[in-house]
């Protein structure tokens, strides 16, 4: 079962995409985008995992005493979290404006243009 963690990430990503495509509510769509994004956390952490390893922090660990998991992908996951949070905040702000101007958050009803 060496590929199972990667397949979990694929599954989370696809289920998020399905939610995005079928969403009838913009807030729900923003949530689905967050689900898609969480697939990348799973993938990154799965790539960095190493058997019998511990966290790459040496404050209470003798350097070289134990193998450590890959710190590079952990740093990338941190970047991912920050960017994901800001994108979610910006999208939710847009949804608030859409709701105010059009009185609806259903993407299907937002087809007409309005000044």
């Amino acid at each position: 079962m060496d590929v199972l963690p990667y397949l979990v990430a694929v599954w989370i990503f696809l289920i998020g995409c399905y939610g995005l495509a079928t969403s009838r509510n913009l807030i729900h769509a923003v949530g689905c985008l967050a689900v898609c994004q969480s697939a990348t956390y799973v993938l990154l952490l799965a790539v960095g995992y190493r058997d019998d390893a511990t966290a790459p922090v040496f404050s209470d660990l003798e350097p070289g005493a134990r193998p450590v998991v890959d710190p590079v992908v952990q740093a990338l996951a941190l970047t991912d979290v920050v960017v994901g949070a800001t994108v979610t905040a910006l999208l939710l702000a847009l949804v608030i404006q859409v709701a105010k101007r059009h009185g609806t958050v259903d993407p299907d009803e937002l087809s007409e243009l309005r000044g």
Partner: protein, 246 residues
């Protein structure tokens, strides 16, 4: 496009994407495998520069330039939210009524507030030593302030949270990161290169060269950014009302 056609299109595209992704996964290195060339090099560099937390070393030393981009994204998103969520002409502000808070909630919120604030500052300050750092600690510290909203009411929160000041703090922290990077140029090395300050003693607060400084700048920026973001969203929910009455 009616929902049925769209669903069919999604099914076709999704299946294709799924096949490609699974094929890619089968070619990835084995899960839990022992070969992590980038990770091993990152750990070696981090130890060479006396930074106990390898992830802090990657973020604020080896990839410091990328982190600047990340911080800029955060800053731009805050500016975007401030613009999007401003009070428009057909809206007015209504003073929120003080709400009743049950005594246990009030008690625990007010006990947890200073503890959470100190934890947040601790996580920022010890970013180069223990798990955590500016991004995480900043969020904890900013969230701590909002316990006042749960424990008391919105006006109490507003008193400890002059939003204008936090907006200035956000900009100042972002500039501080840039200035620390430029200091390297003045010192005769490269932008954001961690060669200016002594690396200090391993596993003490003053280790890692410029890592703690950049860490602190990011911590301050994140804390201010989260406060400003939440303030804008809370304003929309609590204070701003449409002119034509709700």
């Amino acid at each position: 496009m009616n929902p049925r056609t769209r669903l069919r299109l999604v099914a076709v595209g999704g299946t294709g994407l799924a096949v490609l992704l699974v094929a890619a996964c089968l070619r990835l290195p084995d899960f839990g495998g022992d070969s992590h060339p980038y990770g091993d090099r990152a750990v070696r560099d981090s130890l060479a520069r006396q930074t106990a937390n390898t992830i802090a070393s990657i973020n604020f030393d080896q990839r410091a330039f990328d982190t600047m981009g990340e911080m800029t994204i955060l800053f731009a998103a805050v500016v975007g939210c401030v613009v999007l969520l401003r009070q428009t002409r057909d809206e007015h502000r209504a003073r929120p009524e003080p709400a009743d808070v049950t005594p246990p909630v009030r008690r625990y919120a007010l006990i947890a507030l200073p503890v959470a604030l100190v934890v947040g500052l601790y996580v920022i300050a010890h970013g180069q030593l223990s798990p955590g750092g500016g991004f995480q600690g900043g969020v904890v510290a900013a969230t701590a302030l909002h316990l006042l909203y749960l424990g008391a009411d919105y006006r109490a929160l507003e008193r400890v949270r002059p939003v204008g000041l936090y907006e200035v703090g956000d900009a100042v922290a972002a500039s501080a990161y840039l200035v620390t990077g430029l200091a390297g140029l003045i010192g005769g090395t490269a932008f954001l290169a961690n060669t200016l300050l002594p690396y200090g003693t391993f596993n003490t607060l003053s280790s890692g060269g410029t890592v703690p400084l950049l860490n602190a700048a990011v911590g301050m920026e994140v804390a201010c950014a989260v406060v400003v973001l939440l303030a804008r969203f809370l304003d929309q929910a609590v204070e701003i009302e449409e002119e034509s009455g709700k």
